[in-house]
Symmetry: C2
Subunit: 115 residues, 2 copies
DNA sequence: TCGAGTGTTCTAATTATCTCGAACTATACT
DNA sequence: AGTATAGTTCGAGATAATTAGAACACTCGA
């Protein structure tokens, strides 16, 4: 996957906000295509328990995330859009909610980019 | 290497600016500890030739980077500081100049973080 | 169809980032 | 010492990011 440098900076920017990074990790860990939770290695989140989404999906993500992240719906919506815009996640509507998944290609591209 | 989530967002923030990312790549590709240029995979830089630093080191980096990146010395200095602050690079003074290297541990931590 | 729940869009305020230029400090060479 | 070269710090302006709240639109169940 070959991208412009500006794409990479855009991706890094999407992950540069701690709240947004938390959202991304929630999706990444709980909503893998394999259905298996993929633990993201080597980090701790001080003062925070696991996000309240624990049913293996991120249905009703926005509202639930509002509760556990102390951010408004509009802010969470904006963060989701940023992540989508960077190509990191894809969301498809399922009724009232969304089903989101991480684009593994992009993750792999970042890792390749970093050597 | 276990870090707080905030450390990761800090690292991503450091790489989120395209100019700074360009600086980082210049160091990464030309200043590896092995002494071997490490090509960073999977990206193109539209409209830009290779950075003018082509002698295998980044001596006189600031001034040269000013020339080829069209940024002032103070701005470049600031960007270097950001990269150091995030732990991505380490710079030691050598006379009038600096010798910089990328902290491979941090790069590896990012890759592990991304699964 | 009405109400509750969910996500979006717009607006606005606060805060942070990027950048430069000027003045400054440090080093090297003569 | 004097000069040239290198990088730093400070101040300030412009631009961008973060966030909330209000008003809106969509979906589902009764």
């Amino acid at each position: 996957m070959v991208m412009e440098l500006s794409n990479y900076s855009k991706i890094f920017k999407a992950l540069s906000n701690e709240q947004r990074l938390k959202i991304f990790l929630t999706i990444y860990r709980q909503c893998q295509t394999s259905g298996v939770a993929k633990p993201t290695a080597g980090f701790t989140v001080s003062g925070d328990g696991p996000c309240c989404l624990g049913d293996g999906s991120i249905d009703r993500a926005f509202t639930k995330m509002c509760d556990c992240m102390d951010l408004s719906r509009s802010t969470i919506s904006h963060h989701f859009k940023e992540l989508q815009n960077a190509g990191l996640i894809t969301c498809v509507r399922e009724g009232q909610n969304f089903r989101c998944r991480v684009n593994q290609d992009v993750i792999d591209a970042i890792k390749a980019f970093l050597g």
